[in-house]
Amino acid sequence: MPAEHFDAIVVGAGPSGNAAAYTMGKAGLNVLQIDRGEYPGSKNVQGAILYADALERIIPDFRETAPLERHVVEQRFWMLSEKSHTGTHHRSDTFNEEKPNRYTILRAQFDKWFSKQVREAGVTLITETTVTELVKNEAGKVIGVLTDREGGPVYADVVVLAEGVNGLVGQRSGLRSEIKPQHVALAVKETHFLPEETVRERFNLADEDEGVVIEVLGSVSSGMVGTGFLYTNKESISIGVGCLVADFAREKIPPYELLDRFKNHPSVKPLLKGAEMKEYVAHLIPEGGYDAIPQLTGDGWLIVGDAGQFVNAVHREGSNLAMTSGRLAGESLIALKAQGLPATNDNLKLYRDALEDSVVIKDLKKYRKIPGLLEKNRQLFTTYPALLNRSMNAFLRVDGRDKRSKETEILKGLKKARGNWLNVAFDMLKVARAWR
């Protein structure tokens, strides 16, 4: 391991680590980044949607060289029941703009590209190296890291923990507690390949750059708190489903069986017809929201990205919050260095304040009550999607019965499903209040 003393060590080469390392490298700081993968991206998983704004604030011209799949022109939201789906679409030609807002990406390729930019910004990257623990001085300040490579510890003024959702280094160094099973979702995903033209035709897309996103709620999670998704890439489709780990542990449903059921749903099956599955992945997603955020800074260390639980589960945003937190951490450390101030917990208030003032904490605060709401109100995943589909079906079917009788029946069904009208009203109130 390098014997020199670094301004900063960044643990991990995902979106948050890359954002932090790039920001600091660009400003001339002496940065070492360590990743355990064979190449950056080889251990990283995402759905994946890239939100341009967060990356644009780091690398404004990223579109010129980044490996992007399709920009999103249409978002579908499905409420799924066993044989049906009812939903909404939003498609707009305004998404066909010079600088599109959202893209589908393949993370292994995207991360390789991002890492190249980081190295070109002057950051030293060491791969195939797992950071095992943090090194502290007698006063308890973090002063470096130990790895599974020979050559002893590496030292730095500050360690940026961009180690991802599991947060093992921070946890084993006593900086944070273990993640709770109700605060994290297990997602499984497959990548299915199809000719580009087939993807285009199947999803009603104008060319190889336009893409569609489908987010799915309802029977896809088999009564657990979870969702499904389907994203179009250039020549492939990413399809997955994720539910809370606590729910999987209780229900004992194999996640791949859930995914198979989703793939075989009559609304989904034709979209995947003839595709060749080329990868099956699993990953944890932090979904505990604001109240699950661990302590984010200490003497000589700070946390960015998934390790900080920065995921907005409602809006399926994570990588953008990761990049934003990484950038803010980088900027804060640059400012401290410029003022000749050490990265103490007190001085790192700069980073904590920047986060508070950013979309990261603002959005997580807004949806603070959502994780608790979903956990206690599973009818939102079961009763309502099923009811909606039954009602739509009854409403649309022309069978000689008069419309008033049908409407009465639909309303009766709703009342019966939740016991009484008060419960229905409460459900609506609860959702509205958590959303606010």
Partner: protein
């Protein structure tokens, strides 16, 4: 999904994982079970169902065993069994384990 005739993973799981790239660190499994006196916990047993790579199965003695070659390093087992102390879990050595092609 366990094939009861030989205790190995079902062909379906083999097929699914066949597409993935791994660099297996022979002889150095990164997940180990410390069986507790009094038998395996419900949490540990649940892993035979919910591990996404099907790494956990019940052996002939009725004990949960782990074969982590197909592990995707998600960490689910670690979190489910955190309170029971039955799992020793670390990341594989740098460069080893799953290598995502698309991620």
């Amino acid at each position: 999904m366990t094939d009861k005739t030989n205790g190995s993973k079902s062909p379906r799981m083999e097929e699914r994982l066949y597409q993935n790239r791994y660099q297996v660190d022979e002889g150095r499994p990164h997940v180990k079970i410390n069986h507790q006196a009094g038998g395996d916990s419900e949490e540990l047993k649940a892993l035979t169902k919910i591990c996404p790579a099907g790494c956990y199965s019940i052996n002939e003695d009725g004990q949960v065993e782990v074969a982590a070659d197909g592990c995707m390093e998600c960490g689910t087992c670690r979190i489910v069994c955190q309170a029971t102390g039955e799992l020793e879990w670390s990341y594989p050595r740098g460069g080893y384990g799953i290598l995502f092609k698309f991620g």
